[in-house]
Symmetry: C2
Subunit: 379 residues, 2 copies
């Protein structure tokens, strides 16, 4: 029976899903199913530790907390056609519902989607996500769940209120919506570990004042912005972390990313032939990190940048000339060689958060002096 028959349409939400519909048309009718399903079955078999044929997926007993079993039918195009034909082979919706900000649900869905980059990148499996935050009553929750059923969406939720979480679980079961409770299991594990109960309140609703740690992070962001791009070198000593590298090695976004984790960061640009501020060599070298990058990649980034910044019509300028790029990187390389205590991180092809992870591992290793790298915090 079509899922759509199980629940009434919710016009004011449907009105928001036109983009998805367009998306569906754009990619409809591609013969994507079978090879993907084969890969999926292989992965599934791997996970369960034995080879499974797809039919067996449908006959195995339901596994609690495993949305896979709740929604095993639609992954088979043949059966799925009977469920919600039009949408199954086209764009797939993921609903994210939270009684808080919803950023945790969004973060986890993004992280999990990282595992599917290989087929997202070429629109092999187009996905649309829809974040519903501040959903703090059952009526709104059920309306969204109905719409998820109607769209054949996956519903991912982070609901601090235990009655709401229970209602979401039951409604999804009733209407055949595959669902995942992102924070439930970890919250329950922590409750058990600490021997105390969760408040059941979304963050901010507890009425507790914002913590000192919170204000420290805000202060770190403000400090870091003031120090950006070599501003006020006299304050370098006040920074926890100093980044140095040539233009377009990602010093600024990396600084901000680290600042939001509570580190006061200063970044000092390396420019061919320009002397570095004296203060950089006076601070504890344990705080200083050099950034480097492959010359070809840097040259591409700079060419693109000169174009967007309109520095030159054909996207060429000294700044992005290969010879200049190489010379500047060699200049940086000599500086790093003269300061062997500065770790040098190659950012080529790395996302900011990956570089941040590498940098913070080194930073905390030096502080903790331990071979098994860890970043520790107190609450």
């Amino acid at each position: 029976m079509p899922i759509s028959r199980l629940c009434p349409s919710v016009p004011q939400i449907v009105a928001c899903t036109q983009n998805d519909q367009t998306g569906s048309k754009a990619v409809s009718g591609r013969p994507k199913g079978s090879p993907q399903l084969t890969r999926w079955s292989r992965a599934r078999a791997l996970r369960s530790g034995k080879k499974l044929d797809r039919s067996s997926l449908r006959t195995q007993p339901p596994e609690p907390n495993t949305p896979l079993s709740q929604f095993s039918l639609p992954v088979d195009p043949d059966d799925a056609a009977n469920l919600d034909g039009a949408d199954v082979m086209t764009i797939k919706s993921i609903y994210m519902v939270s009684d808080g900000t919803g950023w945790t649900a969004e973060h986890c869905v993004n992280a999990a989607l990282g595992q599917f980059d290989y087929c997202l990148v070429d629109r092999g499996c187009p996905v649309s996500t829809h974040l519903f935050s501040g959903i703090d009553d059952t009526e709104k929750l059920l309306e969204i769940t109905k719409q998820a059923a109607k769209e054949g969406a996956l519903l991912v939720y982070t609901l601090a209120d235990q009655q709401l979480a229970m209602a979401a679980k039951q409604a999804c079961k009733l209407w055949g919506v595959p669902s995942t409770d992102v924070l439930g299991p970890i919250t329950e594990a922590i409750a058990s570990h600490l021997g105390v109960s969760p408040s059941g309140l979304p963050r901010g609703a507890s009425g507790l004042p914002l913590s000192d740690d919170y204000f420290r992070r805000i202060e770190a962001v403000e400090f870091t912005i003031k120090q950006d791009d070599g501003a006020s070198p006299q304050n370098l000593a006040k920074a926890d972390i100093l980044l140095t590298g040539v233009s377009r090695t990602g010093k600024t976004p990396l600084s901000i990313y680290l600042a939001q984790k509570g580190y006061r960061v200063a970044n000092v640009p390396i420019v061919l032939g320009v002397a570095m501020p004296r203060t950089l060599f006076e601070v504890d070298p344990q705080k200083v990190f050099g950034l480097t990058i492959n010359p070809l990649v840097l040259q591409n980034i700079r060419s693109a940048r000169t174009k967007t910044m309109g520095l030159s019509s054909d996207g060429r300028s000294i700044y992005s000339e290969m010879s200049y790029v190489r010379e500047e990187l060699e200049f940086a390389g000599r500086l790093f060689a003269q300061n062997p205590l500065w770790p040098v991180i190659d950012v080529t092809g790395k996302a900011i958060e990956e570089t941040a992870a590498v940098l913070l591992r080194l930073y905390h290793d030096r502080k903790n002096k331990c071979t098994m790298s860890r970043i520790s915090k107190r609450y």
Copy 2:
């Protein structure tokens, strides 16, 4: 049998846990257990939908994916004493293990800990977290799991590699370490939903180039920093979102937070008696958001700031005078009244991410023209 007997000590890790040990001493011997356990049982009963007595927790059959049942003993001080006496009533460790950056595990643990703020705030249940990122071989993984068992820690993991995830699960079961797989269930749900298999590779390891969306977010951060605090008002039209409010309403950290989500943000300070840039009134009013705050709270924040900035020895200056604070907020209020299309958000007691959630709901409602607020994205 003491957990410590089940596995050998791992000295180089133990060397890193001195802080925790100090922490343990600092808070040891407080009679915290019983009332907390009562609250915990109540919450547990609520969650399971029926009243449970604690003893029944230990006799119920193990629930897959529910660390609670794997580690139900230690939450009872009496039984726990037999397991790892010294640590049970003192600081509790949470190990976070990832074969990627570990930021998702950290984000989720922080979010879940938000549910325990009420007892973290007064060190009622002291917690230390330990993030192990880039753990990509079984040997390291097992070493960490052994140490978790030794410390009586909870182990939270995000392992893209399915064999590693399986190894973590089995090792935790073997050594009695309570554990939670944060991304496993959601990744499996998405695999089933899309009908494709996860790559099993942590983000960045796929070798795929960074996405356009990624570079758009980097560009947004760089734009936003350049526009901070009213800089280059001629560029206001290029911003997606404009924030305006008096000093210390959190414009800068909010701008940066939004920028990291890919929005180009400009913020324009409101200063008593200073005319606002003409361009602010020429941009689409749908993009402009006013920030306001309770005068008493603002006065406190400003007093603290003048102290830290050494603007005045006794922390008093015109800037933080109550009369000036009120006047400036009224000045802002009149400006907002003259521009009724600007939504005004009260940031009093709100964390940046909470204000961001409210603001983006309004922003996307205006774009989508739908009554059920949602933020949609395409992949």
